[in-house]
Each structure stands twice: as C-alpha cells, then as structure tokens.
Subunit: 346 residues, 2 copies
C-alpha cells in the first residue's frame, strides 16, 4: 500500500498524458449530442471518485449529475431513462457487475457511455463505447490508492475538455499538469503524519469532515481508515454533521478536518469552533492558520494548493493517515481481514 | 417525541387526503411539460426522505433523479442546468436556506418546482410554484418523526399520480391508503422493542444496514439514534458495507438489519451470514424467518407489508428503537444536546 501511495505522482502523470486523445474524442461527442445529464456508477472507492465527479460536472460544466443507485437495476430490474445522458461507469478491476450492467443498460437506451478502468481487457472496457484507462500499473494492495487518484485524474481531464461555465474551471489543464509534483510534496508529510497519529493508537471511531469538492476526500479517507485500520470511521459533509450527528460528538471524540484553501473554508472554521465547544479532538489537515490554531493535532500543509484540484493532493495525506493508523494498531494494511481486491456485490 | 411517533398514522392519513388535489395539478403539469429529470434538495431527515424519493422515481416512473448537493449553490454559487426538471425542495420548517435557494434558482431556470413543508407560510412555500403541505401538526420534538413519514407520504402520492413503468407502482394508491393502519400495527411493537434494546444500553456505536427502498429507513434510523441516543450510528447499503467498511466489523459489533419482505431479501440474507461469520451482534427487524433465525436479537414483525410502502411502516420501528435507546441511556430524547429544531447551515 505504501509503495502504491508513493507511485501516485507518476501514475497520475501517465493517466493525464495517455488519455489525452480519448478525452478529445469523447468531448467532441458530448458537444455533438446534446448531453443534458451525467450519470456515474461506482462502488466503494470508485463511488467516492464519483462524488468528486458530481461536483466537478455540476459546478464547472453546469450539467446535472445523478450518482447511480446500483440496486435500482440489480434488485428491481429497473433503470431510469438516460437516453440523452453521458453514463460513466468506474471500476478499477472493470469487473464490478453492477457497474458493467449499468453501462450496458445505459448504452442500450442510447446513452453515450464511458468506462473508467485499470484493465483494458475487462468487461467494463468492452461494455462501454468510450474507455479511459487508468495507467496505474497493477494495484496489489486491497485498499485502492493509486487507482483512486488516477480515476480523479481521468474525471478532471474530461471536465477540463468541456466548456466551462464557472471560474473554477479556468486554467484547469495547466493546474492539472502541476498536480503530480504537488502530490509528491504531500508525500513528504509522511513522517509528520506518522508522528501525529501516534496519539490515536487506541482510537476506535472517528468522523472525517469536509465540504464541497473535498467531501470525496473525507469519504475516501474514512474508507481507508476502516479498511486498513478497522476504525469505525465516517465521512461527513460539515453541513450534514450539523443536522443531527453533531449530537453524538462528546469531549474527546476524534474529528478529522480536511480543509484545503477555498470557498468552503469559512464554513469549516465555524464547524471547527462548534467542535471546539464540544471539546472534540480535532486533527486538522490544512494550510489555514486559523483552523490549525483550533486543532488538537494540526497537520500543517506547508504549501498552497489550487482549490479545484486540491482533492488530488489532500487525499494523499488521507491515505498516509490511514496507513499510519493501521501500522500503529498492528494491522497489516496490505491484507485487510475479510476483504478481497474485487468485491462481488449485485 | 413518543407522542409524535404515535401521531403518525393520523398525520399520514391527513397528508394523503389533503394533498390529493395539489397532487393531481402537479401530475398534470409534469405530463404537459416533458420532465426528464427530478432533483431533490433536503438536509438531515429531509435528505433521508429524498433518498427514498430517488428510488421511487427511478424505479416506478423511470425518471432519473439527482439528489442536490447544497454546497454547489451555497459555496460555489453554481447550479446545474435543470430547466426541464422537476425540482423538489423538502424542509419541514420551510426555513432551510439551502433548500429555499435551490428552489428559487431552479425556478428562475425554468424548472417546475415543488416545495414540501409543514409550514404554509414559510419561505419554501412562497418560493415554490407547487406546494404539498405535510399536515403533521406542530412538531415540537427536535428529532423529526411525523414530518418524516408525512414527507414520505407526499412523495408517494406524487409518484402514484404519475405513469408507472414498473410493477412496483401497481395499485400504489390503494396500498398507500392501507398504510396508516399498518403504521399503527407497528406501534404495537413498542414494548417488545423496549425489551429488546435493553441489551444495548452500553452500545456506543453501531451500523444500520438495508438495501434499496429501505436504505432511507436505515439512514433515518441511524440519524435518530445519533440525535437522541448520542450513539455513533451509521446507515449503510448492504452492498456499500461489503465494499470496505465490513473490515471494521468485529466480534460483538452491533449491526441493525432493516429487512422487510421484497426483492432485496436474498441479498440481505447473504449480508447476515457474512456478519454472522464475523460474530457481529445482529438486531434484525424483519418478518423473514431465515433472517430472524440468524439474529442475536430478533425483532419479529408479525404482519406482512407490501414492499413498495414498507419504508413508511418500518421506520416507525426505527424511531421506537432510537427512542428506547435514548431512555435506556438516560438521555432526554425531547431535548438532544446541541441541536435546535431549525438547523441553519448554508
């Protein structure tokens, strides 16, 4: 897992470069057809990538997004009318049955289909009209890391190729090109993160809080913690946290805040103050001095990241946090109990 | 809270009856315009109702659904092109700013708009072109119960008035009419639920698992547990649980299963066996003998419920579970710490 975490800058660079032609083709097709809806299907880590995809499409391209509910198809045999949609299916193995079926059904209905996968010979790659390959190289760790960031890179490339209706989309291609280096910078925080996590050796549950674009980062960090550290971790939007679950935050409750620079920062400062009033432990990943001052364990990111691409960089720290916690708790992050690399659900 | 839980059969009956005309008007309008997308905005309990709405619309009417992400609008000032959509906003108080703004923006774009609220004089009622009132009567408990089931009733009425493309929609109006009585039957399980919960007096965290239509029931049960019992409770789709979080299930971990009859039952039996292998505690709300036999604490529902409307009935038991746990833990369910009736987030 640690090796694969470190391979990410290179893998993301390859994914950005190698898909350039395929991205151009698909974007031309999206322009030709009048695409009015994007649907995205994925499970687990791929679903977290889909959550970021939803914000990118809705904010930057103005196209509404529906995150697919697998059981609509697999349990009820139904599927909504997506004939004028771009239907995206994400599966690193390309074997997730629900995702393959969603793409097949959408394609039969006349939707434009895109498969995002790490395996060019997979069922998903055969099912979809367009395919973006992740170029992550073989991922051996059960906990997906580099296929997650490569999936994000693929989604960013697509959005960057479509007409932008929001300032967040300005200069996106250039910002993306700078990302592998910044992911490398984040990797250098590994020793500090390992030191910071020691205090949480016996933490059995926690919440991971973010808002907007980095909600995906919070979800994915929480998923890695539960997969490799067996921690009961839950990702929350700061707004959702305030609508009820905040009641279960007690003195000493562990709350991880993922807070890169951007539009959501003022709101997260409010959340941090509310958590402070409840005497929660705050582990804060940020470059914002005000948030770091409120933290029990500040993890100061010593460089600025462009808001729009921050999910690609900040998740690297999230992965390192989960990895450190697994080691501290004497779990083998490479062989999580009861999980296989390919999960078969319908 | 307990009083309001018991008022639900009457409140749901009123909601079904009093909105009949408004439902007809809106359904005629949906038919006239070519509605290709439904968007639903809500937070907390209202968001859980939206989750059920998504399954109902996609399965029964075949119209794809996008569950709105509030921050797209409030944090980034963006909003997707929803001009040919039916935009639904849910807020019992009608004061949730994000929801009001989502409806205002959607209406400006030319979407057909529907507000679902318990307050006819609220901002949401003024902002939306069409309004369904909940007729729940004043809800004084901070933890919403009757406004949740009345919101479900309003969503069911709407779906029942639209052309059905799936057998699950057959006879929906008649099935709905029978619901208040079945909710009353579920209320009679209160003493058994109170007894069954005693064992969980010191349970600090748990997961609540369901699939498909009752995912909303799992989310809402978990939310009530965290709001009133301060339990770290998380709702999961059985499929999502298997994609990672199952790793954090240990011997003795508490897992609540919400499993009414229907298409998802075979899958839930698989989940129950997987939890059994991990020696989890299973609290099972079901009428299925096989699932109940696998349970540590079987909560046997002694009557059959039609699958499509089961979320209206099974959530009553979920509310009673949360209420019992709060009392057992000496928390006052009517005054959860740190929560107000109207949560202000942007």
């Amino acid at each position: 897992m640690l090796q694969e975490i470190h391979q990410q800058p290179e893998a993301v660079r390859r994914t950005l470069e190698e898909n350039a032609g395929r991205v151009r083709d698909l974007c031309a097709e999206v322009a030709r057809r009048d695409v009015r809806l994007v649907t995205i299907a994925g499970r687990g880590t791929s679903d977290n990538a889909a959550v970021l995809g939803r914000y990118l499409f809705e904010i930057i391209t103005g196209i509404p997004v529906s995150l697919s509910a697998g059981s609509v198809l697999t349990m009820y045999g139904a599927w909504p009318r997506v004939d004028s949609a771009l239907a995206i299916g994400i599966s690193q193995s390309g074997q997730a049955q629900e995702v393959v079926e969603a793409i097949q059904r959408s394609r039969e209905m006349g939707a434009l289909t895109l498969g995002i996968t790490n395996d060019p010979d997979s069922e998903l790659a055969r099912a979809a009209e367009h395919v973006f390959l992740l170029h992550a190289g073989p991922e051996r760790s059960v906990a997906a890391t580099k296929t997650y960031t490569c999936t994000l890179a693929a989604l960013y490339s697509l959005v960057a190729g479509l007409p932008a209706v929001h300032p967040l989309g300005e200069g996106l291609v250039e910002k993306l090109t700078a990302m592998p280096d910044q992911m490398g910078d984040m990797l250098e925080m590994a020793p500090e993160i390992a030191r910071g996590m020691e205090r949480y050796r016996y933490m059995d549950e926690c919440v991971v809080v973010a808002r907007g674009l980095n909600l995906a980062t919070a979800f994915e960090t929480a998923l890695k913690m539960s997969e490799t550290g067996y921690i009961v971790a839950r990702g929350y939007s700061a707004a959702d946290l305030m609508h009820g679950p905040i009641a279960s935050v007690e003195p000493g409750s562990a709350c991880f805040l993922v807070a890169p620079p951007g539009a959501v920062l003022p709101g997260l400062r409010e959340t941090a103050r509310a958590l402070g009033e409840r005497q929660a432990e705050q582990v804060t990943l940020s470059s914002d001095p005000e948030l770091l001052a409120l933290a029990t364990t500040p993890l100061r990111v010593p460089f600025a990241v462009e808001e729009v691409v921050s999910p690609l960089v900040y998740i690297v720290a999230g992965q390192l946090i989960a990895h450190s916690l697994a080691l501290l708790r004497h779990h083998d992050p490479d062989h999580p109990r009861g999980l296989q690399k390919v999960t078969r659900t319908r």
